[in-house]
Each structure stands twice: as C-alpha cells, then as structure tokens.
C-alpha cells in the first residue's frame, strides 16, 4: 500500500509537471484526488490494514494528498500568470491609429489678436469702451479738431448715411465720446476697439477693417510716457527684443504726432521683403492729445495732458501670422480659419 501511495504521488507529480493548461491540471486533481480518484481508491483499502499500520499509512496518505495539492496550486498559479500574460498580449492595440476627433471651432484670427491686445491693455490698467459704428460728424471729425472743408478729412474717405452721419472712419471718436462722459475724472485710461470703414477696396484695403484706439488723460502725461507705454505694448505683442522708432507725423487730434515703427519681426531690423528693406514696420499712429480736443470734451489742457494712439488690427494679425493677403481675413475660408 505504501508502495501504491508512493507511485500515486510520483505519477501525479509527473503529470502535473507536464500539464500545460488549467483544465489539464483540473483533470489531474479529479484523477488523483477526486471522490473516485486514485488516492481515494487506495484509501478504501485501509480497512484491511492492521491497527499499527493504519495510522502510519493514514499519515502517509495525507502527505501524498498535501504534496499533490501543493503542486497543483503552484502549477495553477504559474499557469494563471501565463494565461494573464497571454491575455494581455492578445489585447494589444494599434496605438498609432488616430484618436477620436473632437469638433472644436476656432476664433477668427482678428479676434485672437484683438483679445491679445485687450489683455495687454487690461494689464496696464485700461478699460475697454465701445462706441457706435455709425457716427455723427461731430465725434468722428469735429471734436477731433478736423476743421470743416479741410484736406485733412480727405485722408479718410467716408461712407455717408445722411448729411452729418457717417460710418466711423477710425476708432478715435472713442476719445471725445468717453471724455465727454467722464470729464474731469482722472486718470482716464481707455481703449476702444472696433470696426471702422473707409471708401477703399483693393488688394491692400478693405472698406471695413478694425482699429484699436487708446488714450490716457492725467496730470503730467508726456510724450516720453507715450514712448514708454508703446514700447511696453509692442514688446508684449511682438517679443521682448523689439525696438520702436517714432517719426513725426500729423493727425488733427494729436500734437506732437508720430508714426510708430517696430523693428521688423521677420528680419530683426536687417532688412527684408516684409519691411521693404528698411528694417522697420509701421504699426501705429500716436501723439499727445491736442489741447483743442481736451477742451472741447471738457478737460482743461492746462491742468491735464494726455496721449492717444491708434492701431490697425489687420496689420498686426498679418504680421503675426505672416498672412500676405488682407482679403483672406474676410474671405472666411474654412481651411484658412482652421489654422488659428
């Protein structure tokens, strides 16, 4: 009987060692340890043993059972581990397939640029004012020191709605409109973004475009403050290494007036096609608010001074994104808009 038990153990361990999957191991369990299994069969013969032998054989039988069970457990855990690995390997996916597309729209590039500029000025303590696009002559011209019947008005060919009512030719009307409401409050720091209109339509002009007017009124505001503020703005807009250059110019509502150039963002001033080899890009007009403008809108020019500037949004967008044709901005081609 002892012999039999030993041979069962040997047979079982041998079979377990060669089993290659869980079901085989299960079959082995049934075959050796099940109710009708070999070990049970052998143990049925225990009755025929002597009282001395019985405990000895019983103990041996237990040992055999335990060792088989242990072996089965071990084998099963090895097999389960292998199975899991196999499973994971079967689950491999092609990670290079494209992801699920989300439909996200884009802001128009002019809005992107406008938002950026607004943020810069909000950071400098400016508020944003909105004024009408259809404007009376007074705010568009007269309050800005444009004399009637003066060639200065010809610089801005206007669309008229009725006598004395026109589509604003610039956002500069923001100045008298806001000043009139707020005088004599200081410090007044305002930007006025929006659509403006001029009778021009060709490759480089659109009859509608966008400007941002900005101005400050306070005690002791000087031309050097204008230079400093614009330098800060230009650097935030185009990068810390930009330089600016001011050239004397003329606007009826500012004096002294300036055209402001920024060192070319393409060539850094070396000269290229974009800057017509000058190294400079003209980006805005500016100046000290004319005393007449302050006076007409309720400020005493002997008490306060101010500066103002106007910026073309299309120009900035085109420079920033390297857009070479103004018309693309109003063409609204899906493939163009998707790029921003």
């Amino acid at each position: 009987m002892r012999q039999k038990l030993e041979s069962i153990r040997n047979d079982a361990l041998k079979e377990i060692s060669v089993a290659s999957d869980l079901s085989q191991v299960n079959d082995i369990r049934v075959k050796f340890l099940g109710k009708k299994g070999e070990l049970t069969n052998v143990l049925r013969g225990m009755g025929a043993l002597s009282a001395d032998e019985r405990p000895v054989i019983g103990q041996l039988a237990n040992e055999v059972r335990e060792s088989i069970e242990r072996e089965i457990e071990q084998k099963m855990s090895v097999l389960r581990e292998a199975e899991k690995l196999a499973q994971l390997s079967r689950e491999t996916i092609d990670v290079t397939l494209p992801g699920r597309p989300f439909q996200i729209g884009k802001r128009h590039p002019l809005t992107v640029v406008l938002d950026e500029i607004k943020e810069i000025f909000l950071g400098l303590g400016f508020e944003i004012a909105e004024t009408p696009e259809v404007e009376v002559d007074y705010y568009n011209f007269e309050a800005l020191n444009f004399p009637a019947d003066h060639p200065a008005r010809d610089m801005q060919d206007s669309f008229y709605i009725s006598p004395g009512v026109l589509l604003r030719t610039h956002t500069s009307g923001t100045q008298p409109r806001v000043m009139e409401k707020r005088a004599p409050y200081i410090p007044l720091k305002v930007i006025g973004p929006g659509r403006v209109y001029r009778r021009d339509d060709d490759a480089t002009h659109s009859p509608m475009f966008h400007q941002i007017e900005g101005f400050i009124i306070d005690k002791n505001i000087s031309f050097s403050d204008l230079k400093g503020t614009l330098l800060v703005v230009v650097r935030q807009m185009f990068g810390e290494d930009r330089q600016i250059r001011l050239r004397p110019s003329f606007f009826p509502f500012t004096e002294p007036s300036a055209e402001v150039d920024v060192s070319c963002i393409m060539c850094n001033g070396a000269g290229c096609r974009v800057c017509s080899n000058t190294g400079w890009l003209e980006i805005l007009g500016a100046g000290m608010i004319h005393p007449n403008v302050l006076k007409m809108s309720g400020y005493d020019p002997e008490e306060v001074t101010g500066f103002a500037f106007g910026l073309g949004v299309e120009r900035v967008a085109m420079l920033k994104y390297g857009i070479d044709d103004l018309r693309l901005l109003f063409d609204n081609d899906k493939r163009f808009l998707a790029q921003f």
Binding site: G105, S224, R247
Partner: protein, 805 residues
Amino acid sequence: MRVSYKWLKEYVDIPVSPEELAEKMTMTGVAVENIEYPGRGLDKIVTGRIESISPHPDADKLVFCRINIGSEVLQVVTGAPNVREGQIILLALVGATLPGGKITKAKLRGVESFGMLCSAQEMGLDPKNFPPDQQEGILEFAADTPLGVDARELLGLDDVVLELELTPNRADCLSMVGVAREVSAVLGTKVKMPEIKVGETSEVIDGQVTVTINNPELCGRYVGRLIRNVKIEPSPVWMQHRLQAAGIRPISNIVDVTNYVLMELGQPLHAFDYDKLRDHAIIVRKAKPGEKIYSLDDVERELSTEMLVIADPARPVAIAGVMGGLDTEITGETTSVLIESAYFNPASIHRTSKTLALQSESSMRFAKGIDPNGCLLAANRACQLIQEMGAGENVKGAVDNFPVPRDNAVIRLRPERTALIIGIEVPASQIREIMIKLGFGVKEDGEGFLVEVPTRRGDISAEIDLIEEVARLFGYNNIPTTLPEGASSEGRKTIAQTVTDEVIDVMTRCGLTEIITLSFMNPRVLDILNLPADNPLREVVTVENPLSEEQRILRMTMLHGIFDIMSRNTARKNKDLAFFEVGRIFTPVEGEKLPKETLTLAAGVMGRTKSGWQTGAAEMDFYYLKGVLETLMDTLNITRYNIAPETANPTFHPGRTAGIELAGNVVGVIGEVHPNVTDNYRLSEKVLALQVNLEELISAVGGARKYSQLPKYPAIERDIAIVVSKDVLSADVNRIIRKNAGQLLESISLFDLYEGEQIKEGYKSMAFALKFQAPDRTLTDEEVNTIHEKIQKALQDSLGAELRA
C-alpha cells in the same frame, strides 16, 4: 511732391548725400517716401546725327543708317518710321542696358547693327513728361546739339528725385523754396533765396487792368501783372528738365513759367490772354445761378453760387484757384498776358474742387493754404523769368488788391510747458536755436519766448504747434522713454464684454468656427432672404455713397453673412460647415439721427460632424444646433428661457423653427433654413441657423452660481413610455409630468423617441426616465408608485396618451 536734388541745391547748401538727407527729413517730419534715380541704367546712350539712310537690301520695313556720334560713325539698322537724314537722335550703344534688354552687336537680316535709336518709352521714361511732338517715336533734338553727349546730361536725368509724402499741415513744403527752408532747419545750413529783379518797359499798368474783389472773405489778395509782346515758344531746356523732374509736362514758355514759379515758390499763378478779357477788367465774385464755363480741359462745367469765379464784365473766365477757362487760354496767337497771383480761401477752394471733382496742383495748394504775403513776389518772379528768356516785356508795376492783409502770428512759448509735453527739459538756448533755424523771430521775456511766425507757416497758430516744432527738431528719438506715474487704475472688462467673450468661447467649444464678415449688404439680400414686402426687416440703413451695389445697405440681420460664407465655402468644395459671428446689426430709428446698433450672435451649421474610424459622422440637424444653444444658455446660467414653435419666419422652414423667448419676449430664432433661401445661396444641403440678440442675453445672464448640497439619500428611478399624437410637443409632456410629480421629481430625460412600425400612423412613442429623490429621507417604493400613477393618469387624461409596458 517731387523734389529734384539738383534744383533744391540752388536754394540751400546740402553737405550730405541724398540718401542721408532723406533719412534726416523723414525723422524730422517731412517723410521722403521714395528716392528716384531717373538716370539709373541710362549709361552708354549718346547723341548722334543720322548722316545717311539706305534701304535694307532684304527687308522692306528696315533701313540702315550711318550715325555720327562725334568720335566715330556707326552703322545701325532700324525699323523706326520717323528717321530723317540730318536728324539728331539718341543712340543706345552696344553694351547699354535698356528696360527692354541689353544692346548687343546684332545682325538684322544679314546687315550688322551697332546700337538702337531710342524713344522715351524705350529708355523707360514716361512719355507724358515730354512735349507732345516727342511723346511718340524716337526722340529728336535741335540741330545744334553737340554729338556724343550723354543722354542723362542732355535730358537732365543726372539727378536724384526725392518724393515727399507730405502731411496736410505741411503745405509750406509744397515748393522748392519751402523744402529748402525745411532742409535748412534740419541741417542748419543757409537758405539762398533766388534774387528777384524785374526788368520793365516804360509802359505803366495803371489804367490797363482793373481788379474788383466782391468777396474779400474768399479772395484776400489779388495781384496782376501785364506782359506785352509775348512770343509763345518752347521754354528753355533747363526749365523743361526741372518741370519734368517735378512731374510736370512742359507746354510752352508762358505756361511753363507759371508752373515753374508754382513749383519754386508754391504760389499758383494763372495766365490770361489779356486781349480776350472784356474791358480788361477782372471781377472776383461768386458764380451766378446757372452760370457755366468751359474749363481748360474742354469740359463745360455748371457752377454753383457757392463757387468763387474770376470774371470779366461779360462772363466767368476762370474757376478761382481751380482751373482757368478755355476762352481766355494762352494760345500761339497770344501777344499780351495777364498774370494772376492771388490768395483764395482754402475751405472754399477745397469745396469747389471736391464738388467739381477737379484737382490740380493749384487747387491742392490753395486748399491747403498758401502764403498771402508771397503773391506779389511770385508774380514778379514770373515776370523776371519771362523777360530773361525773351518771352515778353513787362509793363511797369503791378495791380495789387489786398483787402485782407495778414500779419505774422506772435505766439508765446513757455519752456516749462514744452518740458511737460515732451517729457524732457530742452534747454532754453536750444529752443531759441530751433526757432531761429526755422526762420522764426524770437524774443524772450520773463515768461518765456515770444515767437513771431511768418505767414508761410499757416499751420502754426498756437503754442502746441511750436512745441511740436521743438520736439521734432530736437528729435523724437532723443526723447526718453518713461511710464506714466499718476494714480494707478484698474483695468477690467464690463459684464457685457466678459459675457460676449464667453459666448465666443462657448461657440468654439461647441465646434463652431468664428467668421468676420463685412457689415454691408446688397439690398437684393432682402429678397434672397425671402422677406415679404411688409417685413419690418426691410427698414434698413442705407449708405449714400457705397463703393458698389454689394455694399449699399448695412446689415439688419447677421444671417446673410453666415449663408454667404457657407455659399462661398461650398463653391470651393469645403463641406461640413459650422460657423458663427458676433457683431452689430443696424436698424433705423424714427426721429433719431443714428440707427440702433444691436450686438447679435448668429450661427449656422450644414452637413455632418467630424467622423473618425470609430465613430460615424452625425448629421448636424436642428437638435445639434439646439444643443449648442442649450450649452450656451447653461454656460451663461440663463435658466428662464423658452423655445416655442415659430411658423411665420419667412427665412425659415415653417415646421422646423422656434423662437427663443426670454421673459415673454422673442429675442432670437433657431431653425432649419427655408429651402427657397438655401436655393438662393446655392446651398444643396439643409442649413440650420440661429440668430439671437446678444444684448438681451447679456442682461438675462444669471448671477453667481451657488452650490447645492449633494443628495444624501438614494434616488429611485422609473421609466415611463407613452404613445401620443405626433403633434404633441415634448415640452407639453414635460410640463404635465412636472406638474403632477411635485417636489420629489429630481429630473426628467427623454431617452427614446420612435415613430414607424408598430406605432400607428400619426402617433409617436416617447420614453422618459424619471428620477425621484428627497433631500431628507429615503423614498419608499409605495410613495413613488403613487406619484408615478398620478403622472400616468394625467398624461392619459390631458394628452390622450396610451401607456406602453
């Protein structure tokens, strides 16, 4: 303004190169837009005489000429039609590079040719700058012209032309002398005024010409000078060259002199044929009603009574300051000339020239304002030149009618004010020096400077104008860079601005792309949008002077912009479009000057959503766009809005459109676009669109959100499925459920909608998931069952709903 560098140097010393001068002027306020080198590339072109012409043996249209260029005689084959023996021409030698290409030794039909005869065009010159008989064909010169002379020298092209881009205030730089003064101020060198001495005959002007000014407010000065024994012929070559450099075509001596003085001194002159002036009388007056004149350009012009004319007792003979009349024009027969040198009111000339759409070198200068104190000088200068070139003899004296004299302005300039404006203290000595360089008189008293500004600088009338002069000549780039020091201020957006930005943000997050379209529309759009004759949207704001019919009216709807851009994209085969725009629409307001401008949001979708290999594309239908609207409302925390069927919007599908209501007001529309409209825009697919008044949305935006506690007790869910008539609105079912469910109903959601097989015709099946919850306890099944039954009953009773298992 085109400035010949050579000519300019006659009036001022320029110790720097043209390029350096241009840079310095630009940086001090008179911008040099372009530097032109008219002679560039015109080397190896010399004068030659055609000694002989022989026919080409093998070509009818060609001849060969022997041309003497002084040093040698060259054989040249040419097809030029107007060649003659003895002619002096310009010959481009082998090696010359013309705009049309390099001249090489060539064989034309077997005959060797060593150059090319030149026309103005072939040399890249503008024929319009040449006298009429030289504008076509090869250029021809006087028989005594030396041979072998360089073309650049001959044509006065050995020069540099600075093109000034003048701002409207700097009318003083519209003359050579004016520019010279500016150069002198910039470089600190001396101005050399031309010496003006008039040779006169013994005949005196008194009694020969009378001048009457009826409107001194429009004509502040009128100077006349009389010239006898005039011989009309071409002006001298040096004068022609200078006029050409200035961009003016030489015509004849008298006209050329008036133009020359115009360019030299900035004073427009006009020459009348004296003998054609009735009674030799000049009357400066306003035009009479219905009065007409043939102007020099041979156009009959109707004058308005606002316009100033120069007249004789019979008729107007010139539109003052704008253009002369044909009747009194200088012709080949003219023998006596009256030179007019006047000062006219700038605004009046500007108006007249605009009204008549007639702009000339003269009208432009008058409109910007000339120096009334320069009139006599300019008339004298013209007489001097005419006499010097032998074109006529000057009658002694001038008629000078000067009813409105103008004195130099005297303006106070405070150094401390200057420092405040500029931001740096410019030393008083430097301010004085700048004023002197400008040719201004300076006196100093306890309070600063008193500056006397000559009348030629009409742009300077106040202290700030002088401060600007100081700033620009001090140099903008020498002014330091500082930041404003005053009280700080807070920069923040208004609620409306924040909400508008949020709207743009939500729309893009929902997959729509922003467009920006023009605010203009063609009035035809009203028909294209299907609007009937009585539709209120037909009340539009009209542009008086549009560039085209496409831009005649201002948009009163933003939908056109959306549809138009969809249409353009479709034409380019861009499919699956989802666009929105935020902007203003314009509506006229009775009794108001300005229209109402309303901030508006419009959106449109067409086609399908983006699809991937896993997920199919979904059609962007009504519910897609409605989802966008709901997301927008949710983001803005607007809860009290209502979507109700709208059957009468002519732009939209009557059965697939809804009004967007806020507090009982319709503030927008959402729906499928009417097929007639999509057809009009050549859109072959269904388009869904919405437009909403953004200002109404902004004012309805909910306050700050408050957190509500998360439920502590479990919810019980029940489904309810009903069959109802197709006409029953989902909103009605919702309303009945809510009304009968009471406080414990936490949420309703429709999870299935079905029509078709197994449902009888005209009916639909709807299934809702209801969630019940109490904040303070766990609900029992019995409680919920009771409510559920109540809901079912109500649906049966009020909607005739049939319950499904």
